[in-house]
């Protein structure tokens, strides 16, 4: 096999996949804004995607914040007591909060959406929607995207608070820092932009999570095995896109490189 042909085939396959995802998104997004809007379905998805992800996101944030505090304290002896709260709050709000929450929710929600839509596809339930004059993009895809974009920033906001708490618990109970000055250092150093940039990221990650779940589920084929593959692809592609989008948004918000 000619290695150039192999590379070329891979690139073409990758580009056409990107094109298909883009086309899918172009079909889905306008449906989120055009009536009829299915309020009941959106609320249902907000519960599933947002509310039930709270424990996962909270625990992840708590342990990440704690570990972060411990790492920095051990690494820098001088001035650690003022440095630790500052780095924890920046690290959590700007980067780790949204990224960790994004990855955890991708594992939970992208997989669930892909499995549900994939099963609907192979059992012809999606075709049945069309024959009942209901647009599957509007009925299935749009509510999930709306719910994920709305709830991810809220999840990350709560995760930020819990993550900072995690750092504080480690600082006060394990490193014997003064509680009041830890909190004062945190609040003094934190700027609004740190939090809002993280929340913008969260909204974008929410879009990616729902889109990947829907795209792979909608196009799954071939019975149980196909649904399994769709679920795996949804989680993997959502995770990769989240990390890529995170890099791009970080360089957009905070200036890249120089």
């Amino acid at each position: 096999m000619n290695p150039f042909a192999l590379v070329g085939r891979f690139v073409i396959a990758l580009l056409s996949e990107i094109g298909r995802i883009f086309e899918f998104a172009m079909n889905a997004v306008p449906q989120a804004f055009m009536p009829p809007i299915y309020g009941r379905l959106i609320l249902q998805q907000i519960m599933r995607i947002g509310y039930f992800s709270l424990p996962v996101v909270g625990l992840t944030a708590f342990f990440t914040g704690g570990a972060l505090a411990l790492q920095i304290a051990v690494g820098s002896e001088i001035g650690a007591e003022t440095l630790v709260p500052q780095i924890v709050v920046l690290g959590i709000t700007r980067e780790l909060g949204p990224v960790m929450a994004g990855l955890m929710v991708a594992g939970r929600v992208s997989a669930a959406i892909a499995a549900e839509l994939g099963t609907m596809r192979v059992t012809e339930q999606i075709d049945a929607l069309t024959t009942l004059s209901t647009n599957p993009f509007k009925y299935l895809v749009a509510p999930r995207i709306i719910a994920a974009v709305l709830t991810m920033p809220i999840l990350v906001g709560i995760g930020d608070i819990i993550g900072v708490m995690g750092g504080w618990v480690v600082g006060v109970y394990s490193l014997d820092y003064n509680s009041a000055s830890y909190l004062k250092n945190t609040v003094d150093f934190l700027k609004m932009g740190d939090v809002t940039s993280g929340l913008w990221k969260a909204a974008v990650f929410g879009f990616i999570i729902a889109l990947m779940g829907c795209y792979h589920g909608y196009h799954s084929k071939g019975g149980a095995q196909g649904v399994g593959a769709a679920t795996t692809n949804a989680v993997v592609s959502a995770a990769i896109l989240i990390l890529a989008a995170n890099y791009m948004m970080t360089s957009l918000f905070f200036g890249g490189g120089r």
Partner: protein
């Protein structure tokens, strides 16, 4: 001469290099029941899905009430699909909804009826297929295959469509339940005076529900006529199929 309810001319579709439909010509008159027979993988399902707009054909024309529909999308497609009802092979009931919500789905989402009104109609339709109101509150996964088919039929007729499609209505059912479904199809359809297009490989079912039969083989209609004439078709392919013989002009492509 009346305009055919459904008319296909030279419809072609290929998936990759595999030609599935190779110029299908079909016509169904208003109030008529056409059954397409043929083996697995001969293009029956693709023909049906092309008319429904689930698959876009590569070439050819599909007309419903004289209007070209093969390239419609979005709102215009939904408008045409309002004329249709469809009973899927495995019923394709929405498992996140109860039975009555399934039957009422097209009324609520498609026609914008309120839930109370739609539920009344749904329970009437369930009664029509021999299911009591208590079934309406169950979830589809609690039903047997035959009951799911009946719910699927109730959902297909709920919005009083002009055309109903049946995809293998008796596949996977025992002979008695199959006959019950056939009877239901005949009575509901005759009641409503609708046009139907069915695909099946079950000859008992085809003889019962058809006015006309068409046989598809390798993506082409190779014979069509009134069901009384099928035993004297003079077509060796049709003869082989209706008698279920392994030997004949149709060769099963078995891997050696």
């Amino acid at each position: 001469m009346t305009t055919p309810k459904i008319e296909l001319k030279g419809v072609q579709k290929r998936f990759g290099t595999k030609v599935v439909l190779d110029g299908v010509d079909l016509s169904v008159d208003p109030g008529e029941s056409l059954v397409i027979i043929g083996g697995s993988g001969t293009g029956k399902s693709v023909t049906l899905k092309s008319i429904l707009g689930l698959i876009t054909p590569d070439k050819g024309s599909i007309k419903v009430d004289g209007r070209e529909v093969s390239r419609l999308t979005g709102r215009a497609r939904e408008e045409v699909n309002r004329k249709f009802g469809m009973l899927f092979q495995a019923a394709a009931l929405f498992d996140s909804l109860t039975v009555w919500e399934n039957v009422a789905f097209g009324l609520i989402q498609g026609r914008g009826l309120n839930r109370t009104e739609a539920k009344q109609i749904a329970l009437q339709k369930l009664a029509k297929v021999g299911l009591g109101p208590e079934v309406g509150e169950l979830s589809p996964s609690e039903l047997s295959g035959g009951m799911q088919k009946r719910v699927g039929l109730a959902r297909a007729i709920a919005a009083e469509p002009e055309i109903i499609f049946f995809d293998e209505p008796t596949t996977g059912l025992d002979p008695i339940m199959a006959d019950v479904i056939n009877d239901l199809i005949v009575t509901t359809v005759k009641d409503m005076g609708v046009t139907t297009l069915s695909i099946t490989h079950d000859m008992v079912s085809a003889r019962k529900i058809a006015d006309k039969i068409a046989m598809i083989y390798k993506g082409k209609i190779i014979w069509s006529g009134r069901k009384e004439d099928i035993d004297n078709s003079g077509n060796p392919y049709v003869d082989q199929f209706i008698h279920g013989r392994a030997e004949g002009p149709i060769k099963m492509e078995l891997a050696k």
